[in-house]
Protein backbone atom coordinates (compact mmCIF):
# COMPACT_ATOMS: atom_id res chain seq x y z
CA UNK A 1 0.00 0.00 0.00
CA UNK A 2 2.69 2.35 1.03
CA UNK A 3 4.77 1.62 -2.07
CA UNK A 4 1.87 2.36 -4.35
CA UNK A 5 1.39 5.69 -2.72
CA UNK A 6 5.03 6.57 -3.09
CA UNK A 7 4.98 5.67 -6.77
CA UNK A 8 1.93 7.78 -7.31
CA UNK A 9 3.59 10.75 -5.73
CA UNK A 10 6.70 10.34 -7.82
CA UNK A 11 4.90 10.10 -11.12
CA UNK A 12 2.96 13.30 -10.58
CA UNK A 13 3.90 16.40 -12.55
CA UNK A 14 6.85 18.36 -11.27
CA UNK A 15 8.11 15.42 -9.27
CA UNK A 16 11.68 16.03 -10.35
CA UNK A 17 11.66 19.43 -8.79
CA UNK A 18 10.13 18.08 -5.60
CA UNK A 19 12.78 15.37 -5.40
CA UNK A 20 15.58 17.86 -5.82
CA UNK A 21 14.30 19.90 -2.94
CA UNK A 22 14.47 17.03 -0.50
CA UNK A 23 18.19 16.46 -1.12
CA UNK A 24 19.83 16.75 2.24
CA UNK A 25 22.50 19.39 2.72
CA UNK A 26 26.12 18.31 2.94
CA UNK A 27 27.46 20.00 6.05
CA UNK A 28 31.06 21.29 5.94
CA UNK A 29 33.49 19.21 8.00
CA UNK A 30 36.98 19.43 9.42
CA UNK A 31 38.69 16.07 9.82
CA UNK A 32 41.89 15.67 11.75
CA UNK A 33 43.97 12.89 13.17
CA UNK A 34 46.32 12.83 16.12
CA UNK A 35 48.00 10.02 18.05
CA UNK A 36 44.73 9.11 19.78
CA UNK A 37 42.54 8.86 16.73
CA UNK A 38 40.26 10.78 14.38
CA UNK A 39 38.30 13.89 15.27
CA UNK A 40 35.58 15.46 13.12
CA UNK A 41 33.97 18.85 13.57
CA UNK A 42 30.83 19.36 11.50
CA UNK A 43 28.76 22.52 11.15
CA UNK A 44 25.09 21.65 11.53
CA UNK A 45 23.27 24.83 12.53
CA UNK A 46 19.64 24.35 13.53
CA UNK A 47 20.13 20.79 14.77
CA UNK A 48 19.42 20.00 18.40
CA UNK A 49 20.32 16.81 20.24
CA UNK A 50 16.89 15.32 19.56
CA UNK A 51 17.21 15.79 15.79
CA UNK A 52 20.70 14.31 15.51
CA UNK A 53 21.73 10.79 14.54
CA UNK A 54 25.32 9.59 14.60
CA UNK A 55 25.96 5.99 13.61
CA UNK A 56 29.33 4.35 13.44
CA UNK A 57 29.73 0.73 12.45
CA UNK A 58 32.91 -1.02 11.42
CA UNK A 59 33.17 0.64 8.03
CA UNK A 60 31.07 3.75 7.93
CA UNK A 61 30.18 6.80 9.89
CA UNK A 62 26.76 8.22 9.07
CA UNK A 63 25.70 11.61 10.35
CA UNK A 64 22.16 12.89 9.93
CA UNK A 65 20.47 15.91 11.40
CA UNK A 66 17.07 17.55 11.13
CA UNK A 67 16.95 21.31 11.16
CA UNK A 68 14.36 22.38 13.69
CA UNK A 69 13.72 25.86 14.92
CA UNK A 70 10.61 27.71 15.95
CA UNK A 71 8.96 29.75 13.23
CA UNK A 72 5.95 31.98 13.74
CA UNK A 73 2.69 30.84 12.23
CA UNK A 74 1.74 32.19 8.86
CA UNK A 75 5.28 33.14 7.92
CA UNK A 76 5.92 33.74 4.27
CA UNK A 77 9.42 33.05 2.94
CA UNK A 78 11.03 36.05 1.31
CA UNK A 79 14.46 34.61 0.67
CA UNK A 80 16.12 31.27 1.42
CA UNK A 81 19.72 30.26 0.97
CA UNK A 82 19.22 27.16 3.07
CA UNK A 83 16.60 25.20 1.19
CA UNK A 84 16.62 21.86 2.91
CA UNK A 85 15.67 20.83 6.40
CA UNK A 86 18.13 17.95 6.68
CA UNK A 87 21.84 17.35 6.75
CA UNK A 88 23.47 14.09 5.81
CA UNK A 89 27.08 13.09 5.43
CA UNK A 90 28.87 9.75 5.28
CA UNK A 91 32.48 8.79 5.77
CA UNK A 92 34.21 5.50 5.13
CA UNK A 93 36.22 4.35 8.11
CA UNK A 94 39.16 2.01 8.37
CA UNK A 95 39.76 -1.01 10.57
CA UNK A 96 42.22 0.50 13.01
CA UNK A 97 39.51 2.76 14.43
CA UNK A 98 37.64 1.61 17.50
CA UNK A 99 34.14 2.72 16.53
CA UNK A 100 32.67 1.16 19.69
CA UNK A 101 34.31 3.99 21.59
CA UNK A 102 33.02 6.83 19.43
CA UNK A 103 32.13 9.96 21.35
CA UNK A 104 29.82 12.63 19.92
CA UNK A 105 29.20 16.07 21.28
CA UNK A 106 26.89 18.81 19.98
CA UNK A 107 27.29 22.45 20.95
CA UNK A 108 25.81 25.55 19.31
CA UNK A 109 25.17 23.66 16.10
CA UNK A 110 28.66 22.15 15.85
CA UNK A 111 28.96 18.38 16.09
CA UNK A 112 32.27 16.97 17.30
CA UNK A 113 32.93 13.27 16.86
CA UNK A 114 35.96 11.45 18.24
CA UNK A 115 36.84 7.96 17.10
CA UNK A 116 39.85 6.54 18.93
CA UNK A 117 42.44 4.28 17.38
CA UNK A 118 42.45 0.71 18.64
CA UNK A 119 44.87 0.40 21.53
CA UNK A 120 47.04 -2.12 19.65
CA UNK A 121 47.72 0.24 16.74
CA UNK A 122 48.57 3.31 18.80
CA UNK A 123 52.20 4.33 18.60
CA UNK A 124 54.02 3.22 21.70
CA UNK A 125 56.97 4.93 23.12
CA UNK A 126 59.73 2.44 23.74
CA UNK A 127 61.97 3.20 26.56
CA UNK A 128 65.65 2.56 26.08
CA UNK A 129 67.41 1.32 29.15
CA UNK A 130 70.99 2.18 29.60
CA UNK A 131 72.94 -0.85 30.70
Amino acid sequence: MRDTQDLATHSSAGSQRAEREVYPLIPPADVLEDVDGITLHIDMPGVSKSGLKVEADKNTLVIEGDIQFSMPQGMEALYAELQSTRYRRNFTLSGELDTEKTIANLKNGVLSVKIPLRAEVRPRKIEVHAS
Binding site: I26, D30, D43, L78, Y79, A80, E81, L82, F91, T92
Partner: protein, 144 residues
Amino acid sequence: MFGNATAFETLFDELRRMEQGVEQMYGRSAPGIRSVARGTFPPANIGATENEVHVYLFAPGFDAKSFSISVQRNVLTVAGQRVLPIDEKATYFRQERFDGEFRRIVTLPEDVDPERVEAKYRDGVLQIKVGRREVAKPRQIQVA
Protein backbone atom coordinates in the same frame (compact mmCIF):
# COMPACT_ATOMS: atom_id res chain seq x y z
CA MET B 1 42.69 6.83 7.00
CA PHE B 2 39.37 7.67 5.39
CA GLY B 3 38.87 6.10 1.99
CA ASN B 4 37.24 9.22 0.66
CA ALA B 5 37.63 9.00 -3.08
CA THR B 6 36.75 5.33 -3.15
CA ALA B 7 33.37 5.74 -1.50
CA PHE B 8 30.80 6.37 -4.20
CA GLU B 9 28.50 8.10 -1.81
CA THR B 10 31.15 10.67 -1.06
CA LEU B 11 31.94 11.13 -4.72
CA PHE B 12 28.31 11.92 -5.43
CA ASP B 13 28.27 14.27 -2.50
CA GLU B 14 31.10 16.19 -4.11
CA LEU B 15 29.29 16.33 -7.44
CA ARG B 16 26.15 17.52 -5.77
CA ARG B 17 28.10 20.19 -3.96
CA MET B 18 29.47 21.42 -7.31
CA GLU B 19 26.07 21.26 -8.91
CA GLN B 20 24.57 23.27 -6.08
CA GLY B 21 27.28 25.87 -6.58
CA VAL B 22 26.54 26.21 -10.29
CA GLU B 23 22.81 26.40 -9.65
CA GLN B 24 23.34 29.06 -7.10
CA MET B 25 25.56 31.11 -9.39
CA TYR B 26 23.05 31.25 -12.21
CA GLY B 27 19.87 30.92 -10.21
CA ARG B 28 19.10 34.59 -9.92
CA SER B 29 19.43 36.66 -13.07
CA ALA B 30 18.73 40.08 -11.56
CA PRO B 31 19.79 40.03 -7.92
CA GLY B 32 19.22 42.90 -5.53
CA ILE B 33 21.92 45.56 -5.44
CA ARG B 34 23.05 44.56 -1.94
CA SER B 35 22.70 40.82 -2.46
CA VAL B 36 25.80 38.66 -2.28
CA ALA B 37 27.05 35.60 -4.10
CA ARG B 38 25.60 32.33 -2.87
CA GLY B 39 27.84 30.30 -0.67
CA THR B 40 28.54 33.31 1.51
CA PHE B 41 28.93 32.59 5.19
CA PRO B 42 26.62 32.46 7.04
CA PRO B 43 23.68 31.43 4.87
CA ALA B 44 20.54 33.46 5.55
CA ASN B 45 16.83 32.76 5.33
CA ILE B 46 14.32 35.56 5.60
CA GLY B 47 10.62 35.29 6.29
CA ALA B 48 7.87 37.73 7.06
CA THR B 49 4.59 37.82 8.90
CA GLU B 50 2.15 40.71 8.91
CA ASN B 51 3.86 42.36 11.88
CA GLU B 52 7.47 41.19 11.79
CA VAL B 53 10.38 40.25 9.58
CA HIS B 54 12.43 37.25 10.71
CA VAL B 55 16.02 36.74 9.67
CA TYR B 56 17.75 33.41 10.34
CA LEU B 57 21.52 33.27 10.06
CA PHE B 58 23.03 29.80 10.15
CA ALA B 59 26.19 30.59 12.07
CA PRO B 60 27.19 27.65 14.30
CA GLY B 61 29.89 27.58 16.95
CA PHE B 62 29.82 31.25 17.84
CA ASP B 63 29.72 32.89 21.23
CA ALA B 64 26.35 34.72 21.30
CA LYS B 65 28.06 37.83 22.66
CA SER B 66 30.42 38.06 19.69
CA PHE B 67 27.68 39.06 17.23
CA SER B 68 27.23 42.69 16.39
CA ILE B 69 23.81 43.52 14.93
CA SER B 70 22.57 46.85 13.63
CA VAL B 71 19.60 48.06 11.59
CA GLN B 72 19.76 51.33 9.73
CA ARG B 73 16.55 52.23 7.94
CA ASN B 74 15.82 48.88 6.28
CA VAL B 75 19.37 47.57 6.05
CA LEU B 76 20.43 44.93 8.56
CA THR B 77 24.12 44.42 9.23
CA VAL B 78 25.39 41.42 11.21
CA ALA B 79 29.04 40.87 11.97
CA GLY B 80 30.79 38.15 13.93
CA GLN B 81 33.96 36.22 14.32
CA ARG B 82 34.73 32.55 14.73
CA VAL B 83 38.29 31.47 15.29
CA LEU B 84 38.75 27.74 14.97
CA PRO B 85 41.46 26.33 17.20
CA ILE B 86 44.20 24.64 15.24
CA ASP B 87 45.74 21.53 16.74
CA GLU B 88 49.40 21.82 15.80
CA LYS B 89 50.13 18.17 16.50
CA ALA B 90 47.32 16.83 14.33
CA THR B 91 47.15 16.11 10.63
CA TYR B 92 44.25 17.81 8.88
CA PHE B 93 42.53 15.88 6.09
CA ARG B 94 39.72 18.34 5.53
CA GLN B 95 39.23 21.95 6.50
CA GLU B 96 35.91 22.98 5.01
CA ARG B 97 34.49 25.01 7.85
CA PHE B 98 34.43 28.79 7.87
CA ASP B 99 37.18 30.43 9.90
CA GLY B 100 37.47 34.16 10.57
CA GLU B 101 35.31 37.25 10.46
CA PHE B 102 32.10 37.77 8.54
CA ARG B 103 29.87 40.72 7.84
CA ARG B 104 26.52 40.22 6.17
CA ILE B 105 24.33 43.01 4.97
CA VAL B 106 20.70 42.20 4.25
CA THR B 107 18.06 44.49 2.77
CA LEU B 108 14.74 44.11 4.57
CA PRO B 109 11.30 45.23 3.41
CA GLU B 110 10.83 49.03 3.43
CA ASP B 111 8.36 49.08 6.31
CA VAL B 112 10.59 47.70 9.08
CA ASP B 113 11.01 49.61 12.32
CA PRO B 114 14.73 49.82 13.32
CA GLU B 115 13.65 50.61 16.88
CA ARG B 116 12.15 47.16 17.35
CA VAL B 117 14.86 44.54 16.92
CA GLU B 118 15.28 41.36 18.99
CA ALA B 119 17.84 38.62 18.59
CA LYS B 120 18.43 35.18 20.05
CA TYR B 121 20.92 32.41 19.40
CA ARG B 122 19.83 28.74 19.50
CA ASP B 123 21.58 25.63 18.21
CA GLY B 124 23.89 27.73 16.04
CA VAL B 125 21.10 29.75 14.42
CA LEU B 126 20.99 33.49 15.03
CA GLN B 127 17.36 34.59 14.86
CA ILE B 128 16.68 38.28 14.41
CA LYS B 129 13.16 39.67 14.64
CA VAL B 130 12.43 43.15 13.30
CA GLY B 131 9.04 44.78 13.82
CA ARG B 132 7.11 46.28 10.91
CA ARG B 133 5.26 49.56 10.94
CA GLU B 134 1.53 49.36 10.74
CA VAL B 135 0.47 49.52 7.18
CA ALA B 136 -1.88 52.39 6.51
CA LYS B 137 -5.32 51.10 5.75
CA PRO B 138 -6.74 52.04 2.36
CA ARG B 139 -8.82 55.19 2.72
CA GLN B 140 -12.35 55.26 1.47
CA ILE B 141 -13.12 58.35 -0.50
CA GLN B 142 -16.68 59.47 -0.58
CA VAL B 143 -17.99 61.07 -3.72
CA ALA B 144 -19.95 64.14 -2.80
